[in-house]
Symmetry: C2
DNA sequence: TTGTAGGCGTTATCAG
DNA sequence: CTGATAACGCCTACAA
């Protein structure tokens, strides 16, 4: 088993210098058509493949982009990863995957190692607690794109997300238009952009319909754990419990559903339900859930496209905020009051 | 913005040579306690982090392992990825993620780029069609571990999977013990080990109970597409349709469930159902599904541990086959006939 | 125990 | 157009 061919082997085999080979490889600089052909032949024959590490070392930057997601257990992030990988491949970018598990400490570690790898760019769902490190990446001229959510302090980085305000407003409006006035919302933590923006949309819809906001019906829940269930249970225990509920925290819909089932709350008879993110199983359960469908392929497409463009310096420096519309999918978990 | 410190900067700052720094970094070779402290200080002060690319180039191998999964859209693989990432982190290994989408062509591409990256190891779910390339990896002394499924031709690579035969037998037995004799099975393609082994388990259980195998009830389906649904529809259209069904192809349970719902087949009244892989939503749907639960964390643990050990040459050359038991979870989708 | 120097595979600069 | 040759940052004999 002889070791893999290097650029020098190719050069020798083709009877040219390494520079020529490098040039045909990267299309940088001129090469005589004849020699080009020879080089191509040699490459073919030796099954030569440039070593990524050497390339990185030499140019100080790589074609690898770090993907730092919260949690692959959440189908939303899993499908996002799937699409990001696909988009990356079509651009010859590699994906280095890490997860934060919504833990700032883990996020910190991940960012550090990403730094070592001198990745060419980053796509991530920030926990909101490592602003210094994120800034460092940016300071090192490593393009960063936040997807799904952002960090308010970091207003110089690109963000790709859905229209959170509009989506939440639409979900709430759907309930209002069906006669509900007692509408609860379980959002994400209020120090995340998704958390606050979705509550804003909810409030906006309420305002439109002249319904007063009741603090007891607006409850944030962390992304991890079962808090979402508790919070809903508390709402339901009120003297005047909600008749409609928006679960805007994707990570909590499962636990909420489980609690509702255990408590034998009939949907939509006892409670009308709209959830954020339309999973493959959302239509499988009984009743099929009305949901806000996030266009995950678009989120992935724009994220990858954005880092890619930045890596190629093909974009003006001003931070980009891409917001794509989400689709409202009406099924059977909501009913007229 | 000054550029990141290199090993030379550290050496200078600590008043030693680079080799000393390298030695304290990698614990290779002796270092005087005093100097070690100085070096550590310098590292701290300069916030030095070794460049992964340089290290790779110099030693010809990296601490990055390639993870080549079929499809992150399948919750089984998504959760597997999640655990693999976690296990990898605790061993300071990085994960380069790629997907095959069950497409041999994409798998081939992925393997090629993995080769360029000179990854230190690989964990993957092979499609079964790129044996040459897989062998090439092995020939290059890159440890390969197949997880979940294997390729029969490649019997020299490590494999981590559940006890497929036993699991399928248990699932089938469960049905038999409840009086079913007409039992269908939707397996994976028969050129995959999971596909054949689960059918073997099914047959074994049948044999135990003296039930004859009916070819029309044993139908493989590809991992992609909706074939599983068609195949079940065909079984159900028989003169003597099955009263029990095992969906052993994780990728097909969703479409089968959808079809069953549309056809208004009552479960378990019309049909008793056991599915492979216990997702978070398996207990959310109506009725909650009886399932074979794959211990995903164990699969991940062993896979990572195995590549890691091989990378460190800490294992005898003989290929390892780790098979972990799966758990049978009885819920409400199966009933006595 | 320490330091020097050569090599890892590419890219890039700069004379021919 | 082409070809030496110097980086790139780290590891590792080998010498001291």
């Amino acid at each position: 088993m002889k070791k893999a061919a290097t650029i020098r082997d190719v050069a020798a085999h083709a009877g040219v210098s390494v520079s020529v080979v490098s040039r045909v490889l990267n299309g940088t600089g001129p090469v005589a058509p004849v020699k080009r052909a020879q080089v191509l032949d040699a490459i073919e024959e030796l099954a030569y493949r440039p070593r990524a590490a050497a390339r990185e070392l030499s140019q100080g930057r790589s074609e690898t982009i770090g993907l730092l997601l919260a949690d692959l257990t959440n189908p939303f992030f899993a499908r996002l990863a799937d699409r990001v990988v696909a988009e990356a491949r079509s651009r010859d970018l590699q994906i280095l995957l890490m997860t934060t598990q919504e833990d700032p400490h883990l996020e910190g570690q991940a960012l550090d190692t990403l730094l070592d790898r001198s990745v060419g760019g980053m796509i991530g769902t920030p926990t909101g607690h490592n602003t210094a490190r994120w800034e460092k990446l940016a300071a090192l001229d490593i393009p960063v794109v936040f997807v799904d959510r952002a960090v308010r302090e970091l207003d110089s980085v690109d963000v790709v997300s859905i229209e959170n305000v509009d989506s939440a407003a639409a979900a709430t409006r759907h309930l209002l238009e069906r006669g509900h006035t007692r509408i609860g919302i379980v959002s994400g933590p209020l120090d995340t952009t998704t958390g606050v923006e979705r509550v804003q949309g909810y409030e906006q819809a309420l305002r439109e319909h002249g319904v007063e906001r009741d603090d007891r019906l607006v409850r944030p829940a962390p992304f991890r754990g079962d808090r979402g269930a508790e919070v809903v249970a508390q709402m339901l225990a009120l003297d005047d419990p909600p008749t409609g509920l928006v679960v805007a925290n994707t990570a909590q819909v499962r636990v909420v559903l489980r609690m509702l089932a255990q408590a034998r709350i009939a949907i939509p008879d006892d409670l009308s339900l709209v959830v954020f993110d339309d999973n493959p199983w959302t239509e499988l359960i009984r009743p099929p859930l009305t949901a806000v469908r996030q266009p995950i392929d678009m989120l992935a497409l724009h994220s990858v496209e954005l880092v890619h463009a930045r890596m190629r310096q093909k974009l003006p420096p001003a931070p980009r905020r891409v917001r794509v519309a989400a689709e409202f999918v009406e099924r059977s978990s909501t009913a007229r009051i």
